[in-house]
Each structure stands twice: as C-alpha cells, then as structure tokens.
Symmetry: C2
Subunit: 421 residues, 2 copies
C-alpha cells in the first residue's frame, strides 16, 4: 500500500471514531459552517473549475461532458442548498429500530450506528463531492473521495473549503479526504483496503462499475445501470400514457431512470401507437417489433423507425431511442422485465387493480411504479436530500441511497448479572 | 460453469420467483409438512448419519468433531423444534417499513421483499442444513446448501426429507438444493455465480471464511470470528463479575462468543484477581500482564499461569485460556477492544452509569453488553428461532442473523399520471 494513502486510511478511521460520538447539533453546526465556507470561497472554487474546464476543452472533451464538469454561481448555490437539505434531515444515528426483553430479563435494543469509512469513486460532476461529503458527515462516517482527474482542481478547491468550514464550525475535518494523486493505482489500493474502508461506491459509467465490482475485496454498492421499462395495459388512460412515456424518454435520456423499452399489451396497440408516434416523431427513434410497427398505420413525417432486434431488449440506450415490444399479458411483461431489466425502475400503466397488484409483486426491481413516470427515482425527489447514488443491488441498500445507506446496527444488551445456562 | 450446477442455479432462481409470491399461511404449512417428514424419516436420517460417523471415525476424526457431526433422536427432535420456531416467527416479507407522499401526490412505500437466492457453505453440523433451509423458506428465498463432505450422507437424507415434506405440504421443493458433488471446485463455482446467487454465507473455521471472502464475486456475509472481551471496573459487583467471567470462558470455550481477553481496571485488580483465580484454578489457564499477576498473591493449587504476550491480545484461543490485561481507564479498555477485537461481543461490568454509557457508545461491535455474560449472542437466544450465523461485518447484516438478513426492500410508488418537470 502506498504510504500516503495508508496514512489517509488511518487518519480517516481515527477521525470517524470521534465523529461517531458527535450529536446531531454538533454535526449540523459543522455542516452549516461548511456550506458558509463554500459560499465565501466561491470565487476560488469557480477559478479552479475554470482551469479544469479549460484543460478539458483543450483536451477535446465533448461539450455534454464539459457541461457536467462546469460550475457556475447557480450550481454553487445548488451545492450549498444540497448541504442545507442534509442538515434538515433527521439524524440517522441512534435510532432504536427494535427492542425487546428476554425471558431472563436481558434487555436488548437494536440501534443505528455509523457504517464507518466510505469511499466513493466517481466521474466528473463536482457536486457529487459536496453531496457525498455532507451525507457522510451527517451519518457519522468518514469519506474518501476519488473523483476523476478532469475535475481535480474543482474537487481540491471544494474539499479545501468544506474541511476549513467543518473546522471553523467546531467539527472534525479529518473525516474527509480527497484521493488526489490522479493515478489509476489509487483505485486499486482503495479496492483492496480491507479493515480500513467499510464500503466503496462506484458512481459513473458501466466500465467503472464493472472494474470496481470485479476487483474489490471490500463491500461494494453497485449503482446506476438502468435498463428500465414501461408496460402499458389496454385499461390505461392513453393520453396520460403518452405523456408519461414521453417524459420518461425525452426529459433526460442519459439518466439511468429513463425508459429504454416500452412493453405494450397487444390490445392496447391500436389505441396507443398512433398517439405515441405523433408525440415522439422527430424527437426519438422507435425500434418496434412487427405488431407494434403494424399498429402505427401511416407514419407521421419525421418518424425514425427501425425493426427491433433481440439485442435492443438488453440495451440501455441512454439516448433518444425507444425499443417497443408487444406482449400478450401482464405476466409476459413481468417475465420480460425480470429477464432483461437491471432491477432499477419499472412501471405499469393500467386501470386494472389485479394487473397493478400482479406487477408490483412480480417485478423484481428497486422501484416499481403504477401510473407515473419512472424518472422520479432519485434521492433528492424521494426526499433524502442529496443522494449517494441509486443502488441496483439488493444487498445492504436498494434504490436511491441517502443517509440510511451509511448506517449499520449495534445491539445494546443490558443485564444485571445474567449468565448462560 | 459446470452444467449440473448451472442447472441448479437456474432452477433455484425460478423456484424463488414463485416462492416470493406465497403468503405466510402457505409457507408455514409447507414448513410444518417438512418437519413432519423429518419426524417420519428419522430412522433413514439416523442410518445415513451413522454411515457418516463411521466413515469419519475410521478416517481418524477427533471425537469433538464427531460429536458435532452426530445425530440422535434428541438432536432430531431439536431440528424439528427449530423448524417449529421458524414457523412461529412473523413473516419478514411484506412489511411496510416506511411510507410517505411527495408534494406532487406520488405515494411511496418501502416494503420488505425476499433477498433472492442464498448459498451457505458450512462445516459438519447437520442441524445447520435444516435451520438454514427453514429460515430461507420462510423468508421467501431459495437456498443452495454446501455442507462438508463428512456430513454428506446426513445432509442428503435431511434434504430429501425436507423437500419431500415441502412438496407434500403444497410448497415449492425446488427452492432447496444440496451441492453434493463433494468437489472443491463446487465452492469456486458458487463464489463466481454473479446474477444467480444474491448472497453467500460461509459458516465454519477461519480458513473457510478467508477463502470465501477472498474469492467471492458475489456478496458475502462473514461470520463467526470472535476475539471477545470483558472489561471490569472497580464499581462492578465482584462476585457477579467472577461468575460472568467464568460463564463466558468455561461454558463453551470453542464458541465464537466466549471471552478471550479480560480487561481489568487497575483499581479492580486487588479485589477481583484473588476471587477469579480461585474460581478458575484447574479449569482455565491465565495469561496475565505484570500488574494482574502481581495481584494474584499466593496462587491457589492447580492454577495454570503464564505471562501474557502481545500476541495473546490478538488471539481467539477457542480454548480454556484467558488473557488478562490491566488498563487505567474505560477509554483505554475501549481503545484496546477496538484495536484487537473482531467486533463480535463485548461487555463492561460496572456500577458506574457514565462508564457504561461511554463503553456502549465507544465500542464498535455487533453486541455490546452491560453486566451480563457475552455468551448470549445467538440467534436462538435473541428470539430469532434458528440462526444463519453471526455476522461480524457491518454491511447488510450485523450480529445474530435470522429472517431479516434474508430480506431486502422494494419501493412501491403509486401515481395518477405524474411526470417529472
């Protein structure tokens, strides 16, 4: 292990054991001071970000990625508001989740405690730096931030402000560290840090997540991959269905909670397809199976239309492309989703109570919607303040992750001399 | 992947998706029939076990291990009672853990659902086979059982009975499978089964656990390693302290929740040590630091006494050996425990409220006791019926694991046409 990172692990762990003893008022006060420090230092942060952006642009980075990297006054305000939302969240620590007394009089309590030291390995958005730092602090955890090299100057400036603010607010600045060597080895060292890091969260593209999952010797929470579906029944409100599908496809097609495949009951094709193509023509490409294609009738001007292939069912397009498949029944839709989906966000649009219930029970996913857009799967929207990411695994945390994902439990057992017979 | 195991994974997954839809009454009825089948088939099970025991004995297995392997009528009764306790447990599935409504009217519920397919890799005790099968079934999970080759005949007979019983009770027998090829490759294949197995639980010695942790590409719950402490303050009831220490050391020294190191406040030495050595002389070896040794005075006849070494603090003896270390204050005890302990079960014996509170907050362990023996850390004792094992990790499950460890959550979101703005 590189001695520099080893020192970082050690100091994060020590700082965390002190933070674990802080009460809510102390944590909130330190976070408020961190938010104030970001506000005060905003010109330094924007200047650092401008250096990152300039370097990225001269390196030929795509404008859509540069937009993710870019900070401005408005985005700094959002970062500060994110910290304020975390401050307003309940303390996730010290909750008594259950308690009971054994026949011999031993009193048991199951209470929430901080998970320990978290690491996050993420791509270019600098707001993730502040969001995750704030969530970790509120949950009593230390956090090692490993952002992308393209955002290094921005992250350095943000972390400098946050740490200065925490210290000014009487908090424990040593709970936050930025892994800033920029080397790829750094990631491997983090992934091997058994005994030092309690969880690693990869947040970014498929390749990053796969690399982390395959190499980690510490617990991982997988995030983000979303091959999501909307299934439309004949009893759905078709006007509403068209708007929900358009929202789920067009509002932010690069998001993990955008729709990728539309499943349509055969008896809904004739009613839905003409309305849908009218709404999506010129906005999204459709890849249809034969019955869906036949139901379109005369295609409107500007409709991009292809035949769907088997491969389309398994693809997260992250683009203005929608695959369309016809099914004969709700259970066929459920089977398709459980086969091709990534267990992220799935919706049924229906007026039929039995179908809604069957879908809710049968679909194995973090978030199962009835008659709404799947774009709502988001920690901020769910009310968690910021989010650490959206877990697509079933282990430890599932769906949008806020403070609770950074907690574990401890049993406190109180006796008066009991021994085991 | 070997095609036989691949088929097993496939059928476990399919069966689990059906079991997930069963209600409590159906699951309990099937489990009751499994218990009845074990009762009916007890002569076959005992005959199969006799073959295992004979083979183990002729292979030179230690009597203590043969005792772990051995079944008799009384132990079969215990296995049946274990299933009955699981039947009486509440259904862990379908609990609404939280629910709220967003400003736009979307109604969210966080409900418990089965984790999916579990695998357990365990050593010779055949009761684990029935305990884990029953817990998994009640939690709506499939389970792959991979016992040791020494218990293969016993496990085959038990699994045959359980599956027959489940089928007779209208249940889904395909949710349970025994990995019975006996090859070591089998374990490696299980550990790589991403997408098929949702969690693997190693239950056995250190080497087994390390091998699983280092090789698994699927989530693991580590179990069992217990370097546990009792810390005695001057304000403790010393008669009670002696009995608690004796219980924690002598009642079952091979258990993971036995005490390994005793930490004594320097002001408690003079009062405690003479009483303690009188109680333990001839029963356990003491490995003392210098102040503790000095406090013994004239050693009673039969006292095995050695000087403690640094290595003793880090050792899980699993034997009639107790290391004894003197500390100057409660926070020194906490620091020692957090450095050398395995985060399993830790106790403070005290009459001082502030010390008790400091210890409960400061010690990072699954179970923190005040004034009681640490031997109570056990799923059965805690009231979970059987146990899957005792998690020594902080991720997903901590401490004794019952039904809850085999669950995850799903968000159910109900709308009336909401789209994201």
């Amino acid at each position: 292990m590189s001695s520099q990172l080893e020192n970082t692990f050690h100091s994060l762990k020590q700082a965390q054991s002190r933070l674990a003893l802080e009460n809510r008022a102390a944590k909130d006060k330190a976070l408020a001071a961190a938010a104030a420090a970001i506000d005060r230092d905003r010109s330094d942060i924007l200047a650092a970000n401008a250096r990152d952006v300039e370097k990225a642009r001269s390196g030929g980075m795509k404008e859509s990625l540069i937009d993710r990297l870019l900070l401005n006054d408005h985005r700094i305000d959002d970062i500060i508001e994110g910290i304020n939302i975390v401050i307003r969240q309940e303390d996730p620590i010290g909750k008594v989740r259950a308690g009971w007394t054994l026949p011999n009089g031993l009193a048991l309590e199951q209470v929430t405690v901080p998970l320990g030291v978290a690491a996050i390995i993420y791509e270019s958005r600098p707001n993730v730096t502040a969001d995750c730092a704030a969530l970790a602090y509120k949950a009593g955890c230390s956090i090692l931030l490993r952002g992308s090299s393209s955002a290094l100057e921005s992250n350095k400036a943000l972390v400098r402000s946050i740490k200065a603010g925490l210290a000014e607010g009487g908090g424990i600045a040593g709970t936050i560290a930025l892994a800033d060597s920029g080397s790829r080895d750094e990631v491997d060292i983090i992934l091997q840090a058994r005994g030092w890091i309690d969880v690693v969260l990869p947040r970014g593209g498929k390749d990053l997540i796969r690399r982390v999952v395959e190499n980690a010797k510490i617990p991982v929470i997988e995030t983000g991959e979303g091959n999501c579906h909307i299934y439309v029944e004949p009893s759905a409100d078709m006007e509403q269905a068209v708007e929900i599908i358009a929202n789920a496809k067009l509002q932010k097609p690069g998001a993990c909670n955008a729709v990728e495949t539309l499943l349509i009951h055969q008896d809904a094709l004739a009613c839905l397809m003409p309305k849908l193509v009218a709404r999506l023509a010129g906005k999204a490409e459709l890849r249809c199976d034969a019955p869906a294609k036949a139901a379109i009738g005369i295609p409107p001007a500007g409709l991009a239309l292809k035949d769907a292939t088997e491969n389309d069912w398994a693809t997260e397009f992250l683009d203005y492309i929608l695959a369309v498949k016809t099914v004969n029944a709700c259970d066929e839709a459920i089977t398709h989703i459980n086969r091709y989906g990534t267990k992220h966000s799935e919706a049924i649009l229906t007026g039929d109570l039995r179908a809604a219930e069957q879908f809710r029970r049968g679909v194995d996913a973090a978030c199962v919607y009835v008659n709404a857009s799947i774009r709502f799967t988001d920690g901020g929207v769910f009310g968690f303040g910021a989010e650490l990411g959206i877990s697509t695994q079933k282990f430890h945390a599932r769906g949008p992750m806020g403070l609770e994902a950074l907690t574990t439990i401890k049993y406190l057992i109180s006796g008066c001399g009991q021994i085991r017979g």
